[in-house]
């Protein structure tokens, strides 16, 4: 019988709980150029802390939004504004579904 304790145990972190990520770190994690992340901030898709780009600090949730925006653009042929709109609507759908679920149980 295989002992599960012998299996590789990679370190696990919760993506969304990360904080204080720099612009460079976000670019590396998404494998994109700096300009792309700057565009996402300009479009209002990401709202990092800090004023100037070199002071920007991102969270894991920002990282997640950036990768989804990237995938939507790549896979669906939408432009940046389209991806931003899709993300905003997805947030609203998620909030509504959570409310629906809560009401359905009561």
């Amino acid at each position: 019988m295989e002992n599960d304790k012998m299996l590789p145990q990679p370190s696990a972190i919760i993506l969304e709980e990360q904080t204080g990520l720099t612009l460079t770190e976000v670019c590396q994690a998404c494998a994109v150029r700096v300009e792309y992340i700057v565009e996402l901030v300009d479009e209002g898709v990401l709202n990092p802390l800090g004023r100037e780009p070199h002071r920007w600090r991102f969270t894991g949730t920002h990282l997640r939004r950036a990768t989804v925006a990237l995938r939507l653009q790549r896979d669906l042929g939408v432009n940046l504004a389209g991806a931003a709109l899709a993300l905003q609507l997805l947030d609203e759908v998620e909030a509504l579904q959570a409310r629906l679920l809560a009401m359905g149980r009561n």
Partner: protein
């Protein structure tokens, strides 16, 4: 291997124009994009679509595919006829865009691995491996206490002869304490292997909670409906309440009403800002079955003559 009917997957006729194919792909891609759709089968469907589109949007590949004839049915056992693609020249540098590494054996038998390999043969080519995504369902209790899960993954790997083989391996994954539904656990270096000296990709596990018989979760707060006897609600009581952590003795204030919420601060899902645990009060009525029980309710009606339960309705 199974024959794939790319026209059926795209929902178009065999004589569809390139424009019709493009339209069908865009429409279905929006519907089944894994970031957009809630359908659990969306990811599989989206990959199929990507593969069908890679063939049908390319005139040369489509012509070669059409040459197989229209007698094949989806799912039928398929072997490519010898020299089936003689006379066709496939252009392109081998990159197929999104998730090309996941194309089916059927696709590879027709168009070769050169198309899916992304230039693995070039020794000076390095690229980071793709990230992999999977879902993991945990119990609410696991988010309170942390847990480990053994996860089996199947990944394509290139062997010493340059062939791609599916290899399955197991991982012991630590579910961190305080994880919430919809969050992603990142396992660095556990995605697809890199090309050349490129680093391996990461594995992302999207967390979901198994539905719980008593508790419901909203973000980091946890709710429990707590039934009370009428006298407990009216007179106040101390009631033992289950929470995912441990049972708690909760003081119910006198004259509590149904729908009232009691908050146990910080007893929701743990974390740097822990959630709260809410007890939603309900009042359970004992049935009046025996003569003496009916008499008791009648005496209550007599006692509470001024009690108007429907004043809110204006009645």
């Amino acid at each position: 291997m199974e024959f794939k009917d790319y026209y059926q997957i795209m929902g178009v006729a065999r004589d569809a124009t390139q424009d019709e194919i493009k339209r069908a792909y865009r429409q279905l891609a929006r519907k089944y994009h894994p970031d957009v759709s809630n359908d659990p089968a969306a990811e599989v469907r989206f990959k199929e679509l990507g593969e069908a589109n890679a063939v049908l949007k390319d005139l040369e590949k489509r012509a070669a595919y059409d040459q197989l004839g229209s007698n094949w049915k989806a799912g039928q056992d398929f072997r490519p006829p010898p020299d089936w693609n003689a006379g066709f020249e496939f252009s392109g540098d081998g990159s197929q865009g999104a998730d090309a590494g996941d194309f089916s054996d059927f696709f590879e038998s027709l168009y070769g691995r050169g198309f899916t390999g992304g230039g693995r043969a070039r020794p000076d080519f390095h690229a980071r491996g793709e990230d992999h995504h999977a879902k993991v369902m945990i119990d609410l209790e696991d988010a309170y206490n942390g847990a480990t899960r053994v996860i089996t993954l199947r990944t394509p790997e290139v062997d010493a002869h340059g062939r791609v083989a599916m290899r399955s391996h197991k991982l012991n994954v630590t579910i961190p304490r305080g994880v919430r539904a919809g969050q992603h656990i990142r396992l660095a270096g556990q995605g697809a292997p890199g090309i050349g000296q490129g680093k391996a990709g990461d594995l992302y596990l999207e967390v979901g909670f198994n539905p719980h018989a008593h508790f419901r979760v909203e973000q980091r707060d946890v709710y429990l409906d707590l039934p009370l006897a009428p006298w407990e609600a009216a007179l106040g009581a101390t009631v033992t309440v289950p929470t995912p952590g441990a049972a708690v003795d909760l003081k119910i204030p006198p004259n509590s009403t149904a729908g009232g919420k009691l908050r146990l601060k910080g007893r929701g899902i743990p974390g740097t800002t822990p959630g709260d645990f809410y007890v939603v009060l309900q009042i359970a009525l004992p049935a009046a079955e025996s003569e003496s029980e009916r008499a008791f309710y009648a005496a209550m009606a007599d006692q509470f003559k001024s009690f108007k339960p429907r004043t809110r309705l204006g009645a």
